[in-house]
Symmetry: C2
Subunit: 429 residues, 2 copies
């Protein structure tokens, strides 16, 4: 209990029904439960899904503290973290006051079935930051429930033996903040596409179903030709998550030495320009395996047709979350292709007849990223691609700017109307 | 050209618009293309999907010869099969007059990208038997296009070295006929469920995403408990394919030594009774790993709730093909569960809001079985489970009866109204 936690703090709050963001003074949160941590925020991100509350789409009737991306320092811990507290996972005993931490956008206890198997975003005690029950991180302090399961302890990872992990100390906070949501979500989307059984014949060189059984299986099967393994993949939507998904995808394809053509489809020109600048950075190091093009919807569709002789993409990563994005994904996917939808969908019904899905043997993955489980993979990519993730404000960087928390109302307004891209709040500036 | 192929033959034909099956005399088919084979039919199956044409759901305005399940003997071959024909896959040079063959329900060339990677049902030259363009096998003779790719040559497999495969000679034709559609489709459904990345934490014991990367990956992850790996799986629909899917599922779970509870949900009592009889045969050899229950819809839902404390099944195999079956599958699946839909869906739209799918992190596999690619796995199961697949007419057998082709009209009528189960036609009786 090192800080004076009896005062008030600044917090970005959404006032219902919609479009009303204010920076209010509210009490500094206190430990309410033995598993709680209080984190002093160093930086907090503004995310596309914050706009659901801003636009009044979430049926919220209370004032709430926004934000589910934050990086900070642990300043207080509940009783569960005291040395000698037994029967808790190691995550509880290793977290200390003074540690630098980030949180995924959902609370996860680290102790239930879903946490153990890695599906942390569906933890049985799962709560989303930035809701009435769980005040968010766009503030100076935040209370983190089930902190031993939820928080990713960057200090303890930095101390670990691995040389690469040791580099965490030299990484800017703005860069580390991408680990809360956008980067792991992009990694998850790309990983789902490349891990799907319908994708494996291309990546393993074995025909289905041997591709899912491994090379030791008995084979009466045909042999793949090199051209069978040439991949075509589409990314639909180039907001921050779509950009991260594209970068992760190229990284994974390069690591597997697969030949690919990737088209990133996005109607907004400013986003296309930003992605093109990022692609030109990637092309300095990822040579010889693939081709990537940024296109609007019509050009993107035409390109897929031309590249594949009309049969379509092996996989589509959908990062928008509405029926027209799903329809576009269906239009450009080939038979036995996968549609990996990381977009946050709302009330509209699925825009497909059952017969359409049967006729193309389509597979779908839906749903939110289990960030806590994806963080090691995301951190690995973040550390290796500091040429992209380490910069702020350039053409080739994901993050557009860091502003004072006092400018939150303006930042929401600009982000909502597409006038600016990824924005980060400094609550002490 | 050993037989007199200039005469006429009996064929089961559907006369539009619907519900009009006749046994007509039509010309015996001839080789029309160098890749053709003419097969003299020994047995032909009546399949649930034959009922789509029977009921007039397929928008067919011509008389057509029905049926896509047949076993027979090659009696004529086109020029492509002559010794010395080069640049064709081995499948073409090894097929001989006199060979016993079966065909999957779709033609596959064996030479295109989709055939090479094992997605044979979406072959670029794919045609469905029993359509106006490709007369079916409920006849005395059938023409098989792209026969070197399409036909599965049981004679050459029987000659191969493996002892198990050598047993093919002792297997009844009625049993082998199950390889055309029902059995490989059931195997495909079960295999999709068990191969999905969201299922792998339970089968590998590694948390996601390590479960998809293999044990060699770096691990900061939690450890699974034995209870995390206890599986609950539902099969929705117990027609012949649903029964085969259930048998294949239990076989695969047993082979992997996974602990399971399987509920097979079916509203029709006669089908439940048949499946219970089959389960009691399986339980004689599959001991100690699992529990399986056959239930109607309400009891099935209650059972899943009870077994899983309300969280739902790890996977659902949907073998019906309509929106209410999909809705039931969604209701009983847990977050991060897979819905593997092998049912033939029609015009109705998908009965889901995008948000429902996001909120449960659901994955779907849709579409038809690539039978040609699944045949080795299906044959292996067929040979090992002759106690089930080798019988006709008992409580615990899939096949209810073998009738003369002359009784086709009555058989369609009875099958359509649920008065009989799997029926096979003998065109020479």
């Amino acid at each position: 209990m090192s800080a004076d936690l009896n005062g008030t703090q600044k917090a970005v709050r959404s006032h219902p029904p919609a479009f009303d963001i204010r920076v209010d003074r509210v009490p500094i949160p206190k430990v309410e439960h033995p598993d709680d941590a209080i984190v002093k925020i160093r930086l907090a991100g503004l995310c596309g899904s914050d706009l659901h509350v801003f636009r009044g789409h979430e049926d919220v009737h209370e004032v709430l503290t926004c934000g589910h991306e934050f990086l900070g320092e642990v300043i207080a811990l509940g009783e569960s973290f005291k040395p000698g507290s037994d029967r808790r996972p190691p995550l509880y005993s290793s977290l200390k006051v003074g540690d630098t931490v980030i949180a995924p956008f959902t609370v996860s206890c680290g102790e239930c079935h879903f946490c153990r198997i890695g599906f942390t975003c569906r933890c049985e005690r799962n709560m989303l930051f930035g809701t009435p029950a769980t005040p968010g991180g766009q503030a100076q302090y935040v209370r983190v429930p089930f902190a031993g399961g939820t928080l990713y302890n960057l200090s303890s990872i930095a101390k670990a033996a691995s040389t690469m992990r040791g580099n965490i100390n030299s990484i800017a906070d703005t860069s580390l903040l991408l680990l809360c949501d956008n980067l792991p979500t992009g990694v998850f989307a790309a990983f789902q596409a490349l891990s799907h059984p319908k994708f494996l014949p291309m990546s393993t060189g074995l025909p289905y179903p041997l591709s899912s059984l491994g090379a030791s299986a008995e084979s009466e099967a045909l042999t793949l030709l090199p051209e069978d393994r040439a991949l075509t993949i589409a990314v639909v939507g180039l907001g921050p998550v779509g950009m991260c998904a594209s970068i992760a995808l190229l990284d994974m394809l390069g690591a597997r030495q697969l030949k690919y053509k990737v088209v990133a489809i996005e109607p907004v020109e400013a986003r296309r320009k930003r992605m093109e600048a990022i692609f030109s950075i990637i092309s300095k190091t990822e040579k010889g395996f693939g081709e990537y093009v940024v296109a609007d919807i019509e050009i993107g569709k035409a390109l897929v047709k031309e590249w594949t002789g009309g049969i379509g993409c092996n996989a589509v990563i959908e990062v928008v979350g509405n029926p027209s994005a799903l329809t576009l994904a269906y239009d450009v996917v080939r038979p036995f292709g996968g549609i990996h939808s990381i977009g946050v969908h709302q009330e509209p019904m699925m825009p497909f007849q059952g017969r359409q899905l049967y006729d193309k043997n389509v597979s779908f993955d839906f749903g939110r990223c289990p960030v806590r489980a994806m963080l090691p993979m995301a951190l690995d990519l973040l550390l290796r691609r500091q040429d992209i993730f380490g910069t702020v404000g350039g053409d080739g960087s994901l993050i557009e700017k860091v502003v004072s928390i006092d400018e939150a109302a303006k930042a929401y307004e600009e982000f909502n109307t597409g006038k600016c891209n990824k924005t980060i709040f400094d609550p002490w500036r």
